[in-house]
């Protein structure tokens, strides 16, 4: 108790409180803007931390790192654009709720879950400290492999109405994830000779393309965020808070997943949020009466990932504190701050620096509370966005999506891939292919391969007899069998899918991709080819089953819808060309003015003001706050 009071007194110093508030505000800002994440914030903060005492430095760094996953919910729910890669799972149900006029409720539930999850992560951290070293070392790569296998079985829960399409979507995600240098042999896989692809396809670009572009297309089609003209339901915010509290078991369960997986270096926030989302869906295979299905605006689909991704920060402090081993970039910087101030991490911190340790835990908890409260305060204003005309909202949102994607590598290929994944996302949405299943395959497949090869190199096949491995593989097998049982049972009840020529066309395109991918593996070293080959082989089988199941198409399909999708993709395509040709400032300006002219709304003067404000924001963030060397626009010489 004395330590807690001493820590509170230390924290109460004005400079430290100011640093905490500054960190939180910056973290919230970084979370809201698509494409940039915690790393962006860290590059702003690093120079400041050198001159600060340890507690102030931690207040700033941890304050920022703790809340990016709170505010990234705002664009995820309102416009279907994940603010950071950690909010893609929140889009699935959160944005559906916004469409139904429940934006405030979704945001209220999300912030509450984030706050409780974040504080829970801090409490878990505090409880773990006396046993942190054995805890961090508890799981080896065999265990992690089995947990990843279990995570992949959650695809079954995210597959939507047609489980074969769901499984295939996960396979496609896995194949995309295997692009790059393989972890064992170090050979190039499907990189087309491009160094750009050596480290794989940028995660932020994939998620922005897959989720943001199709959802913005939907907003534009509807004319506004909501599907109906109804006013947002009154008291939605309070209802959201109550819902999160009512599902406290889920909040803590997802928080545990976040804190636990967060403590393992190499398991990032993208894995955590999707596993938490799938786990929530698994826990409710028989959806409660009156509860929307997952993917159709189920509030549990918002609560679970939001609780997990905020609890992660507490967990990720564990390896840093236990061994001085940084679990993430922010922890590496924190470790640098430790060294500068002569703090030695490890169990001895409990004796030597106990006050400092407690202030760190308090910082994580306080930042989460403060971040959620600020967001809650802003919600009534933000929820009004749901009624803003789409012709104003969508071009503006696209500018930030485009700049966010371009920021990844400042390479024209960022924008090309954004368009390609946008097109894929549009087609998947229209033809009923589960994008969450794709996401799960995409984030888990690389770990499956890496953990397998590490386990095999370290202990041959012995790891297969480890208790944790056996338990998780058994749970995974049970999940698969239960799903198979459910599908068989439901087969008789379901009406046969009315497949169209479009469905068949898309499946045929998938078949071609799978065949090309599989064929190109011939001649590659065996170890580099084995996992992609298994995925490609399995995908081939499922594609053929799907084609057989589809049979002769009964209709042409929603050709008009597809044409509308193709026309929509021209809009971000035009933005991409504008950015490349005219630069990251003039390009979006021209794009916004042309969009206003094309849509006939808003009025010219309003459009100009909006465009200039948007540009001022882009300029302030990407040129003043964190100056970048943007590539020279194509038309610069002219």
């Amino acid at each position: 108790m004395d330590i807690l009071i001493a820590a509170l007194i230390e924290m109460a110093e004005p400079l430290r409180l100011a640093m905490l508030v500054l960190g939180v505000l910056l973290g919230l800002m970084v979370g809201v803007i698509p494409g940039i994440g915690g790393i962006f914030g860290l590059t702003i903060l690093i120079p400041i931390t050198y001159g600060l005492d340890p507690i102030s430095a931690f207040a700033l760094l941890l304050g920022m790192a703790s809340v990016t996953t709170t505010s990234d919910t705002i664009p995820a729910v309102l416009i279907g654009v994940p603010g950071t890669v950690g909010a893609a799972a929140t889009v699935v149900d959160g944005h559906e709720m916004a469409k139904n006029g429940q934006a405030a409720q979704a945001l209220g539930a999300a912030y509450t879950a984030s706050m409780i999850g974040g504080v829970f992560g801090a409490v878990m951290l505090a409880l773990s400290i006396p046993v942190m070293r054995p805890l961090v070392l508890m799981l080896n790569y065999g265990d992690l492999f089995a947990i990843t296998v279990f995570g992949l079985t959650l695809v079954a829960m995210l597959s939507g109405s047609n489980w074969i399409k769901g499984l295939l979507a996960a396979h496609l995600g896995a194949l995309v994830a295997y692009i790059g240098i393989d972890p064992y042999e170090g050979v190039e896989r499907w990189t087309f000779g491009q160094v750009y692809l050596w480290d794989g396809v940028p995660v932020a670009v994939v998620f922005l393309g897959l989720f943001a572009i199709p959802e913005l297309a939907g907003v534009l089609t509807r004319g506004q965020i909501q599907t109906t003209m109804l006013a947002p339901e009154p008291g939605g915010l309070r209802r959201g808070i109550r819902e999160a509290l009512r599902h406290w078991r889920l909040v803590l369960r997802s928080g545990s997943i976040g804190a636990f997986l967060g403590a393992i270096p190499g398991v990032g926030v993208v894995v955590i949020e999707w596993v938490a989302y799938g786990d929530a869906a698994r826990a409710r295979t028989d959806a409660a009466a009156g509860e929307p299905a997952y993917g159709k605006g189920n509030i549990r689909g918002v609560i679970a990932p939001e609780s997990a991704n905020n609890a992660k920060e507490g967990g990720s402090l564990l390896p840093t504190l236990a061994f001085g081993i940084p679990g993430s970039a922010s922890m590496a910087i924190l470790l640098g701050a430790f060294a500068v101030h002569g703090v030695v991490p490890g169990p001895k911190m409990l004796e030597d620096n106990s006050t400092l340790l407690v202030t760190m835990i308090l910082t994580v908890a306080l930042a989460n509370v403060l971040g959620a409260l600020i967001c809650l305060g802003l919600t009534p204003w933000l929820a009004r966005l749901a009624r803003v005309p789409a012709t104003s909202l969508v071009p503006l949102a696209l500018v930030f999506v485009g700049i966010g994607a371009f920021y990844a590598a400042k390479d024209w290929r960022d924008l090309l891939l954004l368009g390609m994944f946008g097109l894929l996302g549009l087609a998947m949405r229209r033809l009923g292919w589960s994008r969450p299943a794709f996401a799960l395959g995409f984030v888990l497949a690389p770990n499956l391969e890496r953990f397998f090869f590490l386990s095999w190199q370290i202990s041959g096949w012995n790891w297969l007899t480890q208790p944790v491995v056996l338990i998780f593989l058994a749970i995974a097998a049970t999940t698969v069998l239960r799903s198979l049982g459910g599908w068989r049972k439901g087969r008789g009840e379901r009406t046969k899918d009315t497949a169209s020529k479009l469905d068949l066309g898309f499946t045929a395109a998938v078949l071609v991709v799978v065949l090309l991918a599989g064929g190109s593996l011939l001649g590659m070293p065996q170890a580099a080819a084995i996992f992609p080959a298994i995925v490609a082989g399995s995908a081939l089988v499922f594609t053929l089953i799907l084609i057989w199941q589809t049979g002769v198409p009964s209709s042409a399909g929603d050709g008009q819808g597809m044409v509308a999708d193709l026309r929509f993709i021209l809009i971000p395509g035009g933005l991409g060309v504008a950015i490349l040709a005219l630069g990251h400032l003039v390009g979006p300006l021209v794009f916004l003015l042309l969009a206003a002219w094309r849509f006939g709304s808003p009025r010219p003067l309003v459009a100009l003001v909006q465009a200039l404000v948007a540009l001022a924001v882009v300029y302030a963030i990407f040129d003043l706050l964190v100056p970048q060397s943007w590539p020279q626009p194509w038309l610069w010489p002219i």
Binding site: L42, A339, P627, S629
Partner: protein, 323 residues
């Protein structure tokens, strides 16, 4: 069209203002590592020693162990040297360690300076009971590495071949944090390629035995350990191992594009020399926990010329040793 033209002019001028006189240091790695640390240290001081006192910014462009930045610079036609790369020193060895890889040519890129000439070390957890380098060589130890292109692989691979050592290299770790945790867990018994700066972090020295020093000359500042090159008797093997270890001689290099004008290269080199001589810079480096081991551009050129002039047979041997 009037509002349109006005805003265009405004934004263009904003763009111009942002472009003027800003030097960018592009780091080939993510924030938080030693390359990021040294680049930010340089960025905070370099501008004061260049004509016009330009602003110097840092951008992280991680990818392919910094080859991404290096390749981008190789193709950059600009002659003004406004973009500096902070890249892996082992790229200088690319022509003979990976002859098929032509993405980077150390003879064409201009090296401005290196901030460090730091040795690396082989370590083992104390719990393994391995106390000497000779014991380590016969221990059957598993040593962790990230990818086959990284020094965490090339150093132990070269040691394994040079000494006929009974060690195994486990590849596929995502970073040094994972390797260290696997050592703590007992899955691995060693790591080769950790720097002195990392070793003195936290309480590592109390938990690990430092087995050997990887470098071409013994370090004056690092922990005491057996100097690995001294243990090799065969002249050819020693020469090949020296070649592989020589990346340590230019540990944190800064490069500019091949197209950069000779005048600009000279200007940048002079600015680095003046910056490192400045007590304010030295004090700041100390505060940030950075171990300075400066070598000027001319010295780096000499090191690289020496490497590339090595007998082709030795280069081939070095190539084979890291496979």
């Amino acid at each position: 069209m009037k509002p349109f033209s006005l805003s265009l002019a405004l934004v263009l001028s904003m763009g111009m203002a942002a472009k003027a006189d800003t030097i960018s240091i592009q780091v080939g790695y993510a924030p938080g590592g030693s390359f990021d640390l040294v680049s930010r240290l340089v960025a905070d001081h370099l501008g004061a020693f260049l004509p016009g006192n330009p602003e110097v910014i840092v951008e992280n462009v991680p990818g392919a162990g910094s080859l991404k930045v290096a390749k981008m610079l190789m193709a950059d036609p600009a002659t003004d040297g406004m973009v500096l790369g902070s890249v892996n020193p082992a790229l200088a060895l690319l022509p003979f360690l990976e002859p098929e890889n032509t993405d980077f040519d150390p003879t064409k890129a201009h090296y401005i300076a290196t901030m460090s000439q730091e040795s690396s070390y082989c370590i083992t957890p104390k719990s393994t009971g391995i106390e000497t380098f000779d014991q380590f060589l016969q221990s059957g130890a598993k040593v962790g590495a990230t990818g086959k292109a990284s020094s965490t692989y090339s150093y132990p691979a070269a040691i394994k071949t040079a000494f006929g050592a009974n060690i195994e290299i486990v590849t596929g770790f995502e970073g040094s944090a994972e390797i260290d945790l696997a050592m703590e867990r007992g899955d691995l018994q060693g790591r080769c390629g950790i720097t002195a700066a990392n070793l003195v972090e936290a309480d590592m020295l109390t938990r690990y035995t430092v087995l050997g020093e990887i470098g071409t000359t013994p370090s004056a500042v690092g922990p005491k350990a057996e100097f690995i090159l001294d243990k090799v008797s065969d002249p050819a093997t020693k020469a090949a191992l020296t070649l592989i270890f020589s990346a340590a001689d230019i540990h944190h290099p800064f490069i500019v594009a091949p197209a950069t004008s000779p005048e600009r290269v000279a200007e940048l080199r002079a600015a680095f020399d003046a910056m490192v001589a400045d007590p304010g810079f030295q004090e700041d480096a100390k505060t940030r926990g950075y171990l300075l081991g400066y070598r000027s551009g001319a010295e780096v050129d000499a090191v690289i010329a020496g490497l590339l002039a090595t007998d082709p047979a030795i280069k081939d041997l070095a190539h084979q040793m890291v496979q």
